[in-house]
Amino acid sequence: MAQIRIENVRKEFGSFTAVQSSSFTVEDGEFFMLLGPSGCGKTTTLRMMAGLELPTSGEIYIDGEEVGMKRASQRDIAFVFQMFALYPHMNVRRNISYPLLSQGVPRAEVRQRVAEVANILKIEDILERPVGGLSGGDRQRVALGRAIVRRPKAFFMDEPLGALDAEFREHMAEELRALHDRMGATTVYVTHDQLEAMQMGDKIVVMNHGVVEQFGRPQEIYDWPATKFVAKFIGSPAMNFLEFDGMIGNGADSIDLSGQTVQVPVTRQGAKGRLTLGVRPEHIHFSDASEFRGRVIATEYLGTTQIVTMSTANGVLKARISSHKAVIPGDLIGLEFDARTLTIFTEERGLALLSQANEGVLRHG
């Protein structure tokens, strides 16, 4: 299949810059996620990769060949949209066959390839049915079938599950990913749902305001966010931000948080001024020994765990702890953080301060 490389791609619509100089590589066979809030430029990026928009500057390579100015039809990719458009007057088989018939593929081969695709998607029993009466899931499968049958170099999908309800969406996400595992085709997938991105993606690009904020494996991005934006966008509840004023030297291994010394991974950069300590909800532990205290505002039961919202001298904090621990609003609780997991962010652009823990992840990308 295909490797896709984006180099310094930029897109302007009049005076509005939709995508600012983006670079990343989608390796052959990867399931690759473009993630970000609406208006971040993820769909524009995908459309440029597909050839539906032309970049203002920069290069796009598919298998080493520069295709930036080539038409969509010459790039040999298949696009699956959020609103799957099927031909309503044709049955399932005709819908799936159509791209092949229009390319003049011989009838016998069309039959054989449709059978193959129907088998992959497990829709053999509905091939002769009109598409009108199909369920949402089956319509989606037919739309996928029409993309797969062409055997393109890559699949591009723009929020293909966006219109489905939560339960069914989860099911289709698993099905899509299993399909990818069977076929191994390079897939680029646009979503604004961070859980969907974490769950399905081999790699994720996180975008905001037309800028690539971070690019990497889901767990790396979760553990070591490059910016405050990424830290906030990935994870639910989001990473907590504790604001403090301070000065940190290169090689420091602790900070002062409202009089309490907090151990942090050894820093590789210095910073001063308004700083932010980022801590994930599951890395907060209750400890009577700690002088750093939080007043409980609310608790939310979630089965095995609960989310405890607290106010502290440095801002509001959410902790994820076992639901067996009784916590009551109004309680004053000593808090400790898992030192190996912390990130410090600087004021300028919210960039993460390099440390012994995150430099491996942040330096490569």
Binding site: Q199, P218, Y222, G235, I297, Y301, L302, I307, R320
Partner: protein, 331 residues
């Protein structure tokens, strides 16, 4: 506020029985969430209490008073619908003030202003108070309609999926706010949703509806740990509970047909071999998809698990739930 009692309430629309002999007590000051898929009877229950529909049989009491033949206005309930309905010619402030300006209430102007200001802050719409209601986004309009209910002091608040049109961040903020408004004011709140996170995090009591019948009523923890049936067990928990034939693991009680294992109630490293079919690193935890004796199941493990597709993991049940042939829990 007031206690609400439903006694044997039945309602049919043509041949379709929407509510089938539903009895429940909504204690004064409780936050009751009705949970169930589309068509289970959640909204119908709410409409019965509000007076927008009349039961075919059975009684509804609010604060000890029978409600039969009383109009919605006479019942003194505040309702928030999924579809916001605001006065389009009024500003946000005027919309929020409207219920307080009722001649029946005679609220002093200074009190009106204080209440409107407080509610607007909670709902994060202070900066839009002087906008026309029609000049708001969908999420903002929905917050105004929630606000319009909250400024009042009715016997009971009735809410029908009020957060479903909001984005994820706002939804999670408002979950906490609604819960704390309710807890602090001692209001009685009956709330309909199909979002299990809302049910678990806000409710003091959850009522599970299945085809018009109330099959379980209790705290979220009761429902999670002691579901009455496989149906009730699948209402809460994400990823959902694994349901397998009881005999795939030894040690089930007689008559057990199905074993229910929550993903976090599967011990790894002991027991019998299963095959890892997929690994999902979600950040705070890793989700494992396993194949065990030709059954699929999902469990969770630590975030930095090194397990990969094709590995063998030993598993055994921890806190299993057992269900009989009818899907009812037996232990």
């Amino acid at each position: 506020m007031a206690e609400v009692i439903l006694r044997g309430v039945t309602k049919a629309f043509g041949n379709h029985v929407a509510l089938d002999n539903v009895s429940m007590t909504i204690p004064d000051g409780s936050f009751v969430v009705l949970l169930g898929p589309t068509g289970a009877g959640k909204t119908t229950t709410l409409r019965m209490v509000s007076g927008l529909d009349q039961p075919d049989s059975g009684d509804i009491l609010i604060g000890g008073q029978p409600m039969r033949s009383l109009t919605p206005a006479q019942r003194n309930v505040a309702m928030v619908f999924q579809q916001y309905s605001l006065y389009p010619h009024l500003t946000v402030r005027q919309n929020l003030e409207f219920p307080l300006k009722s001649p029946l209430l005679n609220t002093p102007q200074i009190e009106i202003e204080r209440k409107v200001k407080a509610i607007a802050e909670i709902l994060q719409i202070s900066h839009k108070l002087d906008n026309k209601a029609t000049a708001l986004s969908g999420g903002e309009m929905q917050r105004v309609s929630i606000g319009r209910a909250l400024v009042r002091n009715p016997q009971v608040y009735l809410m029908d999926e009020p957060l479903s049109s909001l984005d994820a961040k706002l939804r999670s903020d408002l979950r906490i706010e609604l819960k704390s408004i309710q807890a602090n004011s001692g209001a009685t709140l009956l709330y309909v949703t199909h979002d299990q996170i809302e049910a678990m995090t806000m409710a003091t009591h959850v009522g599970v509806l299945q085809n018009g019948k109330l099959i379980q009523f209790g705290s979220p923890r009761d429902l999670y740990e002691k579901p009455v049936s496989t149906y009730a067990a699948t209402r809460l928990g994400q990823p959902r509970i694994n349901l397998l034939p009881a005999d795939v693991f030894p040690g089930g009680p007689p008559l057990a047909v199905t074993i229910g294992l929550r993903p976090e109630h599967i011990t790894q490293g002991q027991g019998e071999d299963s095959l890892v079919t997929r690994v999902e690193h979600l950040g705070d935890q890793t989700r494992l998809h396993l194949s065990f004796r030709n059954h699929e199941l999902v469990t969770v493990t630590e975030p930095h698990s090194l397990l990969r597709h094709g590995d063998i993991v030993k598993i055994q049940p921890d806190k299993p739930l057992y269900f009989d042939a009818d899907g009812m829990r037996i232990s």
